[in-house]
Amino acid sequence: MSEPLGNVSELRAALDAGSVSSLELVESALARARGLDLGALVATRADAAREEASLADARRASGDLRSPLDGIPMALKDNIAAAGEPCGCASRILEGYTSPYDSTAVARLREAGAVVVGRSNMDEFAMGSSTEHSALGPARNPWDPERAPGGSSGGSAALVAAGIVPLALGSDTGGSIRQPAALCGVVGLKPTYGRVSRYGLVAFASSLDQIGPLARTSADAALALGILAGHDPRDSTSLPDPVPDYAAALAGDCTGLTVGLPREYFVEEGVDPGVLGAVRDAVLELEKAGARTREISLPHTRHAVSTYYLVANAEASSNLSRFDGVRYGRRAESDDVGALYRRTRSEGFGPEVKRRILLGTYVLSAGYYDAYYRKAQQVRTLIRRDFETAFEQCDLIATPTTPDTAFRLGERSGDPLRMYLSDIYTVSASLAGIPGLSTPCGLPGGLPAGLQLLAPALGEPVLLRAADAFERRTDWTQRWPGETP
């Protein structure tokens, strides 16, 4: 079995030193993927990747590097469009669909010279927290293949955790980058809403979705974010603010930073003791790095999941209406247009997707709109204000990313409510539009636990700085599954 690939910075150094070529990295990635049966990839593009790697090698030979990611192999979540590639969203309804256009994220990565080797598995249409709701079979957690890697970006998290690629893109609507990152022991970053263009990201909940990186370290995530972030005229919700130099923000310590600890997130009954212990230790590390801590309150926390549930599914029910078999994707046969729609959608969508579409439709329907959707959007404003108030007293907020470590495959897939509750710590940040990052902070019972850091809108620099400082003082980002602790 091949060795894990290492992180982006390590690979960059090796490439620049000439000790390895981009083509070799791509071959290693592909071989390792084949060797490990994780269900993490839904498609590979070996020939195209080899070609791009060779071009990257040629560029490097003539001293012509496009970016720190030039020649680095990576993966894309299967809901991010790339021209000439499938974009199946792990769904039957998009079987055979080839995107004729690039998402902005992919266009920027191409520009930067990154080499995409494949597309990663996910919960269908990003609806789930375990990657068990994929039409192509579940992905597995490299730390224990009987367990889920989390979701919906479970494939991307598993790839990075297993060292198949050092970097993968995911999408986060209510925690879909951060939660799998925590369960797989890697770094996952959800940027400020609007920081990264959504053009080409298949929409789940438009006011919540963001593309973000999963990587071995926050320093790597900073590199990726620097390439992905920025205004896009093709996305009306894209922020016009200039992109700072994220790498320059990595000062190495937390001096002068105040970290808030929301009492609502540290309630013992809600969290696995091993996870809580690991997070508390992490907070101590932050203090050793120079941070002060204080208790804060986010009073509307208990309404976050229900608010999220109503808003996200309402938007999703509308976003998924375009999947009708008329212009692309799979189509069910029928003599009558109405039946065509019903059969195509009923056969093409999995049960979780159908559940959410129906509930979303209900939330928006006549007579219920005010009580459900509008009310939820009002509570969302209150949640946002909670954070604004909190950030007057601290620079960062620290919480566990998830209440538990990775659960067994099949354990929760029949219990939607329990599944939704695994997002309890991550949804608030999505609702408020603020950036959030998960970094590994322990291995209670041999399974990864994640520390979540939250910052005010456009606060990625302080987020990355604190996470990076923590990572330098600990070695959680250097652990690989299967090694003796």
């Binding site: 212009r327 247009v337 009923s346 009002q378 539009g433």
Partner: protein, 89 residues
């Protein structure tokens, strides 16, 4: 509701969905208790000016690209079972 979403459901699906709907009603109950007097619903997380695009045409997809994924096509049109004029599908 299934009709509005153009989904047809099996019997067992209807059952589990009714259970889910009950759950959602519980959630709504919780939200009703929150005082939202005078609170604006969140339109967007951050205030942004209206983005507007110059009125300049650019060619989009070539017809082959546009039709490239079509399950059924005739020339450069998408074929569907006959629709009644002006109705809903």
């Amino acid at each position: 509701m299934a009709g509005l979403a153009r989904l047809s459901l099996g019997e067992d699906e209807v059952e589990s969905l009714t259970a889910d709907l009950d759950t959602i009603l519980d959630y709504v109950e919780m939200l009703q208790s929150v005082d939202t007097e005078g609170v604006e619903p969140t339109a967007h997380a951050l205030p942004l000016p209206t983005p507007l695009r110059e009125d300049r045409a650019e060619l989009g997809l070539a017809p082959e690209e546009a039709l490239g994924n079509a399950p059924a096509a005739a020339g450069t049109t998408f074929v569907v079972p006959k629709v009644i004029e002006g109705g809903e599908a």
